[in-house]
């Protein structure tokens, strides 16, 4: 009875007693406190540097597309840089600012409540589905909509439906159009399409904010900038479209790597009301996965490469996760909690294995795994 949220039997983490759990929680708190107490000028400089990069790279890339878009190498560079600019804006700047990580700067332009990022999702909607729902009910099936986005099946604990046979192609197009899906996430379109529990009229009413934002985004990237480019309208249009897709692909890959990798656990809706802070920490660790890489990879992923630390401390400036990570890793080792970390490619590979497994009913997957095991034994001897 020490766990208010049940953990799966195949968990790689040790079961902790109530006392151990509480102790573990206190140690996590201590790590948080130590870092949060040292936040100051260097963190301010860091985020302003990131913001300046976003602005200068956007100006430079749009300039390249506008004036030299018809020259293929310039188009490639402009498009690539715009994609990069949008990635950094969405991940390291927008996502983190909207978590309130930099509220303490007292800068209304970098305040979590005001910030609205350069993507289809409105800041408001995102703060509800992501900051509140996803970060509170992380990986609890039926509560955390990020478990498959109502579109794909990412856990064997999710009920199988025939549409999940297309799990892999569905996931692929989810990646391409990710910014649209995130924009629409709050509408729960699957309730209207697959489950018929929501009418299209309700969808239309709920979508008022999204429509405003989408009009703004489409008008900006596909009307305004092409128009002012005059004869270069077409290369600008194409460059903006490709840059948006580059961003969608990257953002979704980072997010898949954070929660859909092989060993990330999902949880059954249980009595989360009685969950203690320490139990919540444990759930965050077991439901998230990190990937390792260079400093640039961390910046490009908005430091969500430290997904575990982000889930433990969503309001900590993300540039500090790298400092928290070794401490959390050591703590997990001490308590026998699985700290899910691997290279980007390894994690990403395991995502697709998991998606493939989940496209079939559990019984089929189980029998396939059994036959695979049999084959392996056959060949070994």
């Amino acid at each position: 009875m020490n766990m208010s949220v049940k953990f799966l039997e195949n968990s790689k983490s040790k079961h902790l007693s109530a006392k151990q759990t509480a102790e573990f929680g206190e140690k996590v708190d201590a790590i948080r406190r130590e870092i949060m107490d040292s936040i100051g000028e260097q963190d301010a400089q860091y985020i302003y540097k990131i913001r300046d990069f976003v602005r200068y790279s956007e100006i430079a890339s749009r300039g390249m597309l506008m004036f030299g878009g018809w020259i293929p190498p310039v188009w490639l560079m402009g498009t690539g840089l715009l994609g990069l600019s949008k990635i950094v804006e969405n991940m390291e700047l927008g996502h983190n600012v909207m978590h309130g990580q930099f509220d303490w700067l007292n800068d209304p332009n970098l305040n979590g409540a005001n910030y609205d990022w350069d993507t289809m999702a409105t800041g408001d909607d995102w703060k509800h589905t992501h900051n509140y729902i996803h970060h509170t009910y992380t990986n609890i099936i039926g509560k955390d909509h990020d478990v498959g986005y109502g579109l794909i099946r990412v856990s064997e604990a999710q009920k199988w439906e025939p549409r999940f046979l297309f799990n892999i192609p569905l996931a692929m197009q989810l990646m391409v159009f990710f910014e649209w899906y995130v924009g629409l996430q709050n509408l729960h379109l699957e309730d209207a399409i697959a489950y018929k529990t929501k009418t299209w009229k309700e969808v239309w009413v709920d979508s008022a904010k999204f429509r405003k934002k989408a009009v703004r985004q489409v008008a900006k990237d596909y009307v305004f900038f092409p128009l002012i480019a005059g004869p270069n309208a077409l290369p600008v249009f194409a460059g903006n479209a490709v840059a948006n897709v580059i961003r969608s692909l990257w953002a979704s890959a980072v997010i898949f790597n954070g929660h859909f990798t092989e060993d990330t656990e999902t949880f059954e809706p249980d009595n989360t009301e009685t969950e203690t802070r320490a139990e919540w920490y444990l759930r965050q660790i077991r439901g998230s996965s990190n990937f390792s890489g260079t400093e640039w990879l961390h910046i490009l992923s908005g430091n969500l490469s430290h997904q575990i630390e982000h889930h433990l401390f969503p309001d900590m400036p993300a540039n500090r996760y790298a400092e928290a990570a070794p401490k959390i890793r050591a703590l997990c080792a001490e308590y026998g909690i699985h700290y899910n970390e691997a290279s980007f490619m390894k994690q990403f590979g395991s995502v697709w294995v998991r998606l493939a497994k989940c496209s079939l009913p559990n019984s089929w997957t189980a029998s396939i795994m059994q036959s695979k095991q049999k084959l392996k034994t056959l060949f070994r001897f």
């Binding site: 400089q45 800068d107 509800h128 969503p314």
Partner: protein
């Protein structure tokens, strides 16, 4: 999800325009008011008079004596904002404020070099002189004198027939100017108390002895916590609280209220609140955005999802869900959940 405010995307991002503008000229901005410091002069050892030259966005014409502006100073990368009463606005449209070095913001502000650019707000506040009055009583202590001095000059312009000022001070800021005014204008009676030379508290006896008809007068007060508290007690006791107009520069917390648990939803943090919500959060190691710390600037405004809070300025209790509150002047009177 019901949201209190209507969502409206920013078509053109103001911060982007300002970012470009300030590269050209640091005081340029689209809508924001920025000002460069043109003069800093010492009134006495820790009291400074600062003259600011604002950009074109500043609406000097709306100024009424007694009002203030918020000044933002960047300290160690963090924007800090405080409210300062305006002493006067010069004929050229420059703003003169008096700043007492008493905290990190005023300290940083008085150390800024000439030519430095700071962000300021439009004039604000309703601590102003009512239009038709025959006799008034002004009460000031400490740096509260800036707002009162401004009201006094306005009262002299408006030809108020009887003006009494009770001024409790340790540093005698504006003392010589006030003496001069008292000599020049017979309708102005100046009661000066240097509290270093002689300890003197505000009491009903003092008021009665100095201004016999004070109960009939409209009163204006700006000062430190101690004076404001005694003044409020006196006026409430006499049943003339509606004749008192006051400006605080410190928020007074209800110390008798019980400790309440507060949850910051998005930060996933819970803490115990003993004082106002901003201070309590800071004591728990959280750093919500804030500005003036006295309920003016709206920087710390956020959505209260549930629970009841008391407005420390008005005493009103807000039981509603999904309402906007200011952390710095709200105290929890029940468990509270905040969307931060």
């Amino acid at each position: 999800m019901s949201h209190v405010m209507q969502y409206q995307p920013q078509w053109i991002r103001e911060d982007f325009i300002d970012f470009i503008a300030e590269k050209v000229n640091p005081v340029w901005a689209w809508k924001k008011v920025k000002a460069s410091i043109v003069d800093v002069h010492m009134l006495n050892e820790d009291f400074y008079q600062i003259q600011l030259q604002p950009n074109h966005n500043f609406q000097a014409k709306t100024f009424r004596a007694g009002q203030s502006i918020l000044v933002t100073v960047v300290i160690a990368g963090v924007r800090q904002q405080r409210s300062y009463s305006i002493v006067k606005i010069t004929a050229q449209g420059n703003i003169v404020i008096a700043v007492k070095r008493q905290g990190k913001v005023s300290n940083a502000l008085t150390h800024l070099a000439r030519g430095s650019v700071v962000e300021i707000s439009q004039v604000q506040g309703d601590f102003t002189l009512s239009s038709s009055q025959d006799s008034i009583l002004l009460l000031a202590s400490g740096s509260g004198i800036t707002a009162i001095y401004s009201l006094l000059e306005q009262a002299l312009i408006q030809k108020v027939k009887q003006i009494d000022l009770l001024y409790f001070t340790r540093d005698n800021a504006f003392h010589s100017e006030l003496l001069q005014l008292a000599e020049q204008y017979s309708q102005f009676h100046y009661h000066h108390f240097n509290t270093v030379a002689q300890k003197q508290h505000l009491s009903v006896e003092l008021l009665e002895s100095r201004v016999t008809d004070f109960k009939q007068r409209q009163s204006y007060a700006c000062g430190a916590k101690g004076m404001m508290q005694s003044l409020n007690q006196i006026y409430q006791h006499l049943g003339i609280a509606d004749q008192l107009k006051q400006e605080y520069f410190q928020v007074v917390v209800d110390e008798t209220a019980a400790v309440q648990p507060v949850v910051f939803l998005r930060a996933q943090q819970e803490f115990e609140a003993k004082t106002n919500l901003l201070e309590s959060a800071e004591q728990a190691g959280l750093r919500p955005a804030h500005g003036c710390r006295m309920g003016i600037c709206n920087t710390c405004t956020c959505t209260k999802v549930s629970g009841s809070t008391k407005n420390l300025l008005t005493g009103e209790i807000d039981h509603d869900s999904n309402t906007q509150i200011k952390l710095c002047i709200s105290q929890a009177v029940s468990p509270v959940v905040i969307n931060l």
